[in-house]
């Protein structure tokens, strides 16, 4: 706990809530000894909109659009998690083609989320150009997803039982062309960023997270995998069509900022592999389950469904008491746990390192605040 104004040697500096590097409305109270940080305390809640309260006052279908606003960068994963949780409660099975469509779109969304992360992260470190390259690539993804879902950012596409609209030929050709283009772009990123001596100096051996810390704080996602733990829901607790695909889970060795960066770059390549395989194996058939009731009234019970979003494990915990409105929905968001490790990792670092560490954890504040 930071007590303002009592210590003589240290002084308090406020990072945020409006700050170019905090990726949303986050405030970090820093107690500093010269340039070194002695205590860092994140203050959140500036974007609390009461999603969980909203869930109790709407029926299951009406809550669908909320999921896109929780984490707007990987909205389709949240769509998927919520839909799967409700489908488990009701007992619906999504047909194969529907699952494949969900996987393709979610993986495209994952890539676009990682591209935003790379651009914004390097902007924090002072490199002004990669963000424009990354956003250029992302434009292609947004155009592709816009064709099918109708939105560019806060998607609300999946329905209980499948997907409402099918993929068309132009989309599939567009995706194949994009895969080729992005693969050639990875070489640019590698020479511009990954092999850049200044970048390596800023990120190597900075912000090391140990396995013990990862377990005690419940970290998930690339933040965890940078520390060498191969935990990815898509492999550890496979869901949807993921068992049909052959892909790897990149992990780091030291758990420093550079490893977390590298994990995300490699993950993008793996996502491309998944999309390719999905397009090649795309089965024919229906995209929606039949006999989906118009007004969902699940039996009493509870369910927990986990999916892997770009930031880590998104868990949807629903308690139903047999009503058309959920009794309680808890959204377990990855950034919540991932950010809570900041006070421990930020001690005895410079402000520049804090910015690097905070960026490498990849937090999206609206999902923490809900």
């Amino acid at each position: 706990m930071i007590e303002i104004g009592i210590e003589e040697k240290t002084y308090t500096l406020n990072l945020g809530p409006q700050h170019p590097s905090t990726h949303g409305v986050l405030r970090v109270l820093l107690e500093m000894d010269g340039e070194y940080i002695t205590k860092a305390e994140p203050v959140i809640g500036y974007g609390h909109r009461g999603h969980e309260h909203m869930a109790e006052n709407r029926n299951y279908q009406q809550f669908l659009p909320n999921m896109g606003r929780v984490d707007y960068l990987h909205a389709l994963a949240y769509n998927q998690g919520y839909c799967m949780a409700v489908e488990k409660l009701v007992g619906l099975t999504v047909p194969e083609r529907g699952e494949f469509i969900r996987v393709i779109l979610s993986e495209l969304n994952r890539i676009s989320s990682h591209l935003v992360w790379i651009g914004a992260y390097l902007l924090d470190l002072g490199a002004f150009t990669p963000i424009l390259y990354a956003f250029d690539d992302r434009e292609h993804i947004l155009d592709l997803l816009d064709r099918i879902t109708g939105s560019r950012l806060t998607y609300c596409f999946y329905r209980f039982g499948g997907a409402p609209r099918d993929l068309d030929e132009e989309f599939i050709t567009g995706v194949r062309a994009f895969i080729k283009r992005l693969r050639s772009r990875f070489r640019d990123y590698e020479s511009l960023v990954t092999k850049n001596a200044i970048f390596i100096n800023r990120t190597r051996d900075v912000g090391v997270i140990t396995r013990d810390q990862a377990v005690k704080y419940g970290l998930t996602g690339p933040t965890l995998r940078g520390s060498g733990i191969a935990y990815d829901i898509r492999k550890s607790e496979p869901y949807s069509a993921y068992p049909a695909f052959d892909f790897q889970i990149p992990i780091g060795e030291k758990g420093d900022v550079f490893d977390r960066y590298l994990v995300r770059i490699l993950e993008m390549e793996q996502s491309l592999r998944i999309i390719e395989q999905a397009l090649n194996q795309l089965p024919n058939g229906p995209i929606m389950a039949d006999k989906v009731p118009k007004r969902l009234k699940p039996a009493a019970g509870e369910v927990y469904q986990a999916v892997e979003s770009a930031r880590g494990e998104f868990g949807c915990y629903i308690v139903s008491q047999g009503d058309i409105k959920p009794y309680r929905i808890k959204l377990r968001v990855p950034s919540f746990g991932n950010l809570s490790i900041l006070p421990e990792v930020a001690v005895d670092t410079l402000v520049a390192d804090l910015v690097a560490i905070l960026g490498s954890v990849d937090v999206v504040i609206p999902e923490i605040d809900r």
Partner: protein, 154 residues
């Protein structure tokens, strides 16, 4: 199998229920019911088996609260849910109170602050029980079932 190791680790704690879950229907491999005062010991047992705290929240069941802890493991798929039923008021303390598990899992710090913020449940022994999401001077707990029952509160 992690599930059997967990069952063995939880056996000496004399919990109300330790049974297999229906994974296909609920997503749980192990369902545990405990009293809130047993939670620090349960958390320690889970940590010793290498599990991490996946999520923690509360449900307002009108006459009582249920604290719901989810544990999972990085190495083997085994999700454990622990339900702890909490009385809303006891003779000793006005308002619901439960012991903290943040000594065992530092990550629970923020989860417990959130539950306090949204439900008003206090956690004894918590190092910093302040509101997390709502402003510090807010005087309501929005996820209680009787919040919004009065006019002008919704």
């Amino acid at each position: 199998m992690l599930k059997d190791k967990l069952k063995a680790a939880l056996a000496p704690l004399n919990l109300a229920q330790v049974s297999d879950g229906d994974y296909a229907k609920t997503g749980y491999h192990l369902e545990v019911a405990a009293g809130p005062e047993q939670m620090p010991a349960v958390a320690q047992a889970m940590l010793d088996q290498g599990c991490f705290l996946e999520s923690f929240t509360a449900v307002d069941l009108r006459e009582s609260f249920t604290l719901v802890y989810h544990f999972a493991s990085f190495d083997e798929l085994c999700r454990t849910v622990v339900h702890a039923s909490l009385m809303k008021e006891t003779k000793e303390a006005k308002g619901a109170q439960a012991p903290t598990i943040s000594r065992v899992y530092p990550g629970a710090d923020w989860y417990e602050r959130e539950v306090y913020d949204l439900f008003g449940i206090k956690f004894a022994g918590h190092p910093n029980l302040k509101r997390l999401l709502l402003p510090e001077d807010a005087d309501f707990h929005p996820l209680l079932k009787d919040f919004g029952a009065e006019p002008g509160n919704d």
